[in-house]
């Protein structure tokens, strides 16, 4: 069911997408991303034209307790309704959508950033993410947090009769896809054989199967249909037809390995709102989570895009020139995973992709990464600049 008002993304901007960004503070990166987003959205004075500001971040990533202190200045949110979501950018977008659907708000800014190059030892930060009483004391100290994902990968292989060669194919596809994406710092002209021959970081995952952290800031401007009209933004309005987010247990023993139910529930919510009953035929492409190569396969299945995503891959359907391109951007494997900005990064690609099409519909899926089992999904559409 689509409730009024309808909500669109009318502009997005970014900064960074490099492994290191020594020239700018994360705040200066936020500012650059915000200016670009407002420029595309046609917002001349964000301080009066934007009704609320949402920043998505986590304290331990920023190295600041109560990191929302630093949220308002660079995005125009000083002395304005600004708050933080401790979660992925897409969860922030979902909050923005709800604010717009109350009818009290017309334009919302959603921001997220990551500066992993500021962190000396990322493994130690991930260690802080484990339950301090039951998990942390016995947790492995190497390949943090990849061993957690590897548990899911092994279980997935086991249940699907798939193997490392499928993961390698995803990794090769996405790293090569990234060669045409100017943001993809980790793109590579690597072959499946080369990946299969490289060492495991945590079995069955090699370094090619694992996305790298990347410095980036992203800003999205959301608007109600009234505001789209007022701003004359129909040509750049990509509609959010449905959006869902979901959280599963945080207790590792209770997670069913080889599944990601939070993606399924998020997608079902998004499909329900968008009126989608047969995703594979009603959607044109998907940008789904691939923080780890196997996650692309798992994400597609959990998002009900075909019963067997390995089959789709083997048939070539999910390649850029295939029937249903998946992660044509190169995904996180080629572009990196900018912490909580990962969801907005996927949204950015889908937004630009849809604007380049006459008409189209796509799915974006983001998972927060190990050790969480939290995900979000959104269905986006574009009507070529005219009213529907």
């Amino acid at each position: 069911m689509t409730t009024k008002p309808r909500v669109a993304v009318i502009g997005m901007g970014y900064s960074g997408f490099q492994p290191t960004t020594p020239h700018a503070s994360f705040r200066e990166m936020m500012f650059e991303a915000a200016l670009k987003a407002y420029s595309i959205a046609g917002i001349d004075d964000p301080r009066s034209q934007v009704d609320a500001f949402i920043s998505c971040q986590e304290d331990y990533w920023d190295g600041i307790a109560i990191a929302d202190e630093f949220a308002p200045e660079p995005i125009g949110g000083v002395l304005r309704p600004t708050f933080t979501v401790s979660g992925d950018g897409l969860q922030g977008v979902a909050q923005g959508v709800m604010l717009l659907k109350t009818g009290y708000f017309d334009v919302i800014t959603v921001e997220s950033h990551a500066k992993p190059s500021d962190i000396v030892d990322l493994g130690k930060i991930y260690e802080m993410a484990l339950d301090p009483i039951y998990v942390r004391p016995t947790a492995p100290k190497t390949a943090v947090p990849h061993y957690i994902a590897a548990l899911d990968a092994v279980a997935y292989m086991d249940s699907r009769e798939s193997g490392e060669e499928d993961f390698a194919e995803v990794a090769a596809k996405n790293r090569n896809n990234g060669l045409t994406n100017p943001l993809a710092s980790y793109a590579a002209n690597v072959s499946i054989d080369e990946i299969l021959e490289s060492e495991h970081v945590a079995y069955p995952l090699t370094m090619y199967d694992i996305s790298q952290p990347v410095d980036a800031a992203l800003v999205a401007v959301l608007a109600s249909d009234t505001a789209v009209d007022r701003l004359g933004a129909w040509d750049r309005a990509v509609w959010i037809d449905g959006i869902g987010y979901n959280t599963e247990t945080y207790i590792p023993e209770r997670h069913v390995y080889g599944t990601m139910p939070s993606i399924r529930r998020s997608a079902l919510t998004a499909y329900g709102e968008a009126g989608i009953t047969n995703p594979l035929s009603q959607l044109d492409f998907a940008e789904v989570d691939d923080r780890y190569s196997f996650m692309e396969l798992l994400s597609l299945e959990e998002a009900l895009l075909g019963e067997d995503s390995i089959e789709l891959l083997r048939r070539g359907d999910t390649y850029p020139e295939g029937k249903f391109p998946v992660n044509a951007s190169g995904g996180s494997l080629a572009t990196g995973a900018p912490f909580e900005a990962t969801g907005l990064m996927r949204l950015y690609y889908a937004y630009m992709k849809l604007l380049s099409m006459q008409e189209g519909r796509g799915l974006v899926v983001s998972w927060r990464g190990p050790p969480t089992y939290t995900s979000a999904a959104a269905v986006l559409s574009y009507y070529g600049g005219g009213e529907e």
Binding site: D59, A71, V78, Y126, A129
Partner: protein, 392 residues
């Protein structure tokens, strides 16, 4: 923000729950959250299956020493398999939680929301104070080795210099709130104390003494919010959310005159506008301003437009804000009396307004008839105002 729009579905508070607030608790953060959530669901006569969405809040992750603290708390907050979001505005989080719950329901996205705030400050060693070292700007402030109390003392000093209140005038807030807390079931530091007790307690950072400050606490608080249609099935006399507002000021607190919290004023005006309130001091019957320090309650009453600027300490002296006064302030006993498990404390304040309006405040029920109340929290580096107006 638009106002006077046609409201599709009003949002009601239908249940509330608390744990004890104490310096050190045996229960894990998840267990505390679960206990408060259970009590809130019980009051509403609902089970977890009836809940569509969950909003959680907890302030600095460094207290629990847990990264992804929202996820960690989710298991105890009934969030497994549900849409769960953690909203975060430092100390202002407590009131931001029910504010976020409001938009979950008002948007039509969720019929029922469980809103949970939890804080466990005690595990941090050597002292929870130390955690606050990390809230400062890492390049321009942390090298000075600041203590969190510095910033409050600087603000209190500025308020005294500009507004004329003396330490003994401000101490009256502590006296009032600790007395009010004698009737609160969660209270950690309730008591009948005098102004002299406050003045004679240890001076930490002049002008702040130990009894000017709320304690270090563990605890949780939870609310259930529902659409009007759901609420009508649960109760004949729902308490509604009439207005919400929040504002974040700039990071550079030392580039502002600290005597007045303009960000609280902005947040309050946003909430009042939505609620159609024009003269807050006349139209608000009961208030729960955030009181981690005694001067803060005065500061916030002024920001909330419930006192003339620089005038709150004078009204306080006249008994204006007493439980049987004209505008009872912190009838719960506030953070100074009930305790300050940060995110849970703001929820507790909102719950107090709900209980006052529903006539469920027991011995704390204020003398006057109440139709409308406001709860507010504050946070970050003198930056955040979060405000919620409830009415019946």
């Amino acid at each position: 923000m638009r106002t006077n729009i046609h409201v599709k579905d009003r949002v009601a508070v239908v249940g509330a729950g608390l744990t004890l607030f104490r310096r050190r608790m045996l229960e894990t953060p998840q267990e505390l959250a679960a206990a408060a959530a259970r009590m809130a669901l019980d009051e509403a006569g609902l089970t977890l299956e009836d809940i569509d969405c969950v909003v959680t809040g907890t302030a600095p992750d460094a207290f629990d020493g847990v990264h992804f603290n929202g996820e960690y708390l989710g298991d105890g907050s009934g969030a497994v398999g549900k849409s769960m979001v953690r909203v975060y505005v430092g100390g202002g989080t407590g009131v931001m939680i029910p504010v976020a719950a409001w938009w979950h329901v008002a948007s039509g996205k969720c019929r029922t929301v469980l809103a949970v705030g939890e804080e466990k400050m005690s595990p941090a060693l050597p002292h929870p104070q130390y955690v606050f070292a990390y809230i400062w700007d890492p390049i321009l402030e942390r090298p000075l080795e600041p203590n969190l109390i510095w910033i409050f003392a600087m603000e209190m000093r500025r308020y005294m210099a500009k507004c004329g209140g003396k330490k003994e005038d401000i101490a009256l807030v502590s006296v009032k709130n600790k007395r009010n807390a004698l009737d609160h079931p969660a209270a950690q530091v309730a008591g009948n104390i005098t102004v002299e007790d406050v003045l004679n307690s240890e001076t930490l950072v002049w002008p702040v003494n130990r009894l000017d400050i709320s304690p270090v606490s563990d605890g949780a608080a939870a609310m259930v919010l529902a659409s009007e249609r759901e609420a009508r099935r649960i109760t004949d006399n729902p308490v509604y959310v009439e207005g919400i507002g929040w504002t974040l000021d700039n990071t550079h607190w030392y580039n502002r005159d600290l005597y007045y919290p303009r960000y609280v004023e902005y947040a309050a005006r946003m909430a009042y506008k939505m609620a159609g309130i024009e003269k807050p001091i006349k139209e608000i019957d009961v208030a729960e301003p955030y009181d981690p320090f005694d001067y803060k309650e005065l500061h916030h009453l002024e920001g909330l437009q419930l006192a003339p600027r620089c005038g709150a300490w004078k009204l306080l002296k006249d008994g204006f804000y007493d439980r049987d006064g004209e505008l009872p302030s912190s009838p719960s006993g506030g953070l100074l009396g009930v305790g300050n498990p940060i995110a849970a404390a703001g929820v507790m304040k909102t719950i107090e307004i709900y209980w006052q309006l529903a006539g469920k405040a027991g011995a704390r029920q204020v003398k006057k008839e109440v139709y409308r109340g406001v709860a507010q929290a504050w946070g970050d580096l003198m930056q955040v105002g979060t405000v919620i107006v409830l009415g019946r």
